[in-house]
Subunit: 375 residues, 2 copies
């Protein structure tokens, strides 16, 4: 079996650290209590393992957990999922590092150019490189191109779009990028100095592919991408399939998401097209309080012009025993998600599931069709 | 002009709150000092505006900032960029909420089904819905399908893949999804109860499109997607163009990114294909310290099997005056990014840029071609 060694930093009392570490190992692998694991393959090859806990002496501990490489499917999104998908929602857990086995790394190409390729392209050796940014946004394409000319003419090596430049009305991507690249080439002909212009590509996957084509057709010799912003899986695919010049990664949105929960699933995911939004319900495995859960559910269902309401789905440690309470709290315009607790006893899964169903059906008659939480 | 009203929560002394708010308004719009704005259109239509600061009495303040709708280009990724792209990296700033103008909302479809469509599909009225999850990962497809049968047979309304189920060897997506859907349909024929199965789609944009096709061909009547995990722009495009059944949004990775900076740009972005990584250098507009910056730069350049080194690019408030110091710190295998400080005086941009270039060229000879920071 091949493992990824992951380090998390947790805040906990020393006496609790091992238990917290064990909880993370389970959360980031099978997401069910270990008692529920009856399959030898799963127990030996899939369940995460605590490899060590180190007291840092300041109320925090570094815990080292081994996660099975197989669980990633060697896919970018799924890897993020296994590394920090659920634990990201625990405020006391920080993701610190991961050490990938060779087998895993072999699935990724890494930088196609790297330092050497960039130096080679720019013809620069033995010194640091220079980079300037075209800004502020709001200027028309020709003004940005003029700025680009100025920077290139001054001998700057790389001139990048400010990451705020996108495809806005005042400087459309398809106008700005050829204009800036022409400025670079004019300087090249005039002075012999060939700077690289790195347009900022930002958008959905199909938009990014179109922008990559425009940039290539214009002759741009670098691009700027913000992986956390466009999505890391999208970034990875773009990098491997649509970009054939060096890529500058921008850290934008990399410090997120410290976003209020009511906004993220309740408003934003809904606006983007989620018909139902799962969130960690209070009293479960996550420390989200009732106020937060009410806010998410209310926001997901609130009238909002032509935007249809989305169904709130509390989950993350709900149990059959709490159905009545949960329906009373969230109202019937909700979907209860019960995961591991139905699996407690293999022989009783069907029975527990029926109890769940029955309890929810019964709760309807006590609370009626109108939401108790929102009416 | 149309504006998005954004609320941020900041930690600051009462006397400083207004200044912090003004800094955010600038950071999230033009990213240059206001003195640099000489264009009337930019000043009136693009620069963000502080709309109010409210002391919450606990050391935090809610600041309301208006951001120009035009700057989003009505694109998902660019909107995230404008809302929290750079400010996400300020530990004292939390993103709380955004109120979008009608003009903005009109560009998004929102849920295609919503509560009503889900109820209609499931034929369930007047009560809450039920949802169960197929887990743990590691089980073969037929075991998961058997579990699906059990849940459906028990009368559960929606049965979803655990979000850890992806396209792993032990239960490939193309096997698991038809098997689980067949279980649903068997129950339907046997009992008349038609549950919905929601397979979890996870991957890069092209993988997601393939999985959406497999799910549709199998007859799945819902899907599970984690927007923060697959990337919100990718999620939005998938939702609008590839999915014609109700979508369940999973919160996975939504609590991220509290990820150590040395990992995110230095190791992960590099592994995904970044040839150069920009990060907020110490002593600039961001509070990242020297130790963090050294870690990023060292990680980006460290030997790592066949993975080429990536070029570290400190930015975010660097200045020409600091070139010598920066090159000494990062070594010459780096690229210095200087943004707004070159634009201080419109008449001197060319001159400042040349000074920048000259300073970096000169720094080469004092520190030599070998990195001072890593040698």
């Amino acid at each position: 079996v091949s493992w990824i060694d992951v380090t998390y930093r947790i805040r906990s009392a020393p006496a609790d650290a091992s238990a917290v570490a064990q909880t993370i190992a389970v959360e980031q692998s099978v997401e069910v209590p270990l008692e529920v694991i009856h399959d030898a393959f799963v127990a030996e090859h899939i369940v995460g393992r605590v490899d060590g806990v180190r007291d840092r002496g300041d109320g925090s501990h570094d815990v080292r957990i081994r996660l099975a490489t197989e669980t990633t499917g060697f896919d970018v999104a799924q890897t993020l999922n296994m590394l920090f998908g659920n634990s990201s929602m625990h405020a006391h857990v920080e993701f610190v590092d991961a050490e990938f086995p060779t087998e895993f790394v072999a699935h990724f190409e890494g930088p196609r150019f790297g330092i050497e390729g960039i130096r080679s392209q720019l013809g620069v050796r033995g010194r640091a490189l220079t980079c300037a940014a075209l800004k502020p946004q709001g200027l028309p394409a020709e003004r940005l191109a003029a700025l680009c000319y100025t920077f290139a003419h001054a001998g700057v090596d790389v001139i990048k779009d400010d990451h705020g430049l996108a495809d806005q009305r005042y400087a459309p991507f398809a106008e700005r990028v050829p204009a800036c690249q022409r400025a670079i080439e004019r300087v090249w002909h005039e002075t012999g100095h060939r700077a690289a212009y790195a347009p900022s590509l930002v958008g959905s996957p199909s938009t990014l592919a179109e922008q990559a084509t425009i940039a290539r057709d214009a002759g741009a010799t670098m691009v700027l991408l913000a992986p956390a912003l466009i999505g890391m899986p999208s970034f990875a695919e773009l990098a491997s399939e649509h970009i054939d010049v060096p890529i500058l990664a921008h850290p934008g949105y990399g410090g997120a998401v410290r976003v209020a929960p009511a906004f993220l699933p309740g408003k934003w995911f809904r606006l983007l097209g989620a018909d139902a939004v799962i969130f960690p319900g209070f009293g479960g495995r996550f420390a989200w309080d009732q106020r937060t859960c009410t806010a998410i559910a209310d926001t997901a269902r609130a009238p909002w012009g032509a935007v249809r309401p989305a169904l709130p789905v509390p989950g993350g440690g709900m149990s059959v025993e709490r159905v009545r309470e949960l329906v009373a709290f969230y109202g019937t315009d909700s979907m209860l998600l019960i995961g591991g607790s139905l699996l407690g006893t293999p022989q009783r899964i069907d029975e527990r599931a029926r109890e769940f169903v029955t309890a929810v059906h019964a709760a309807a008659s006590t609370t009626g069709p109108v939401s108790a939480a929102t009416s």
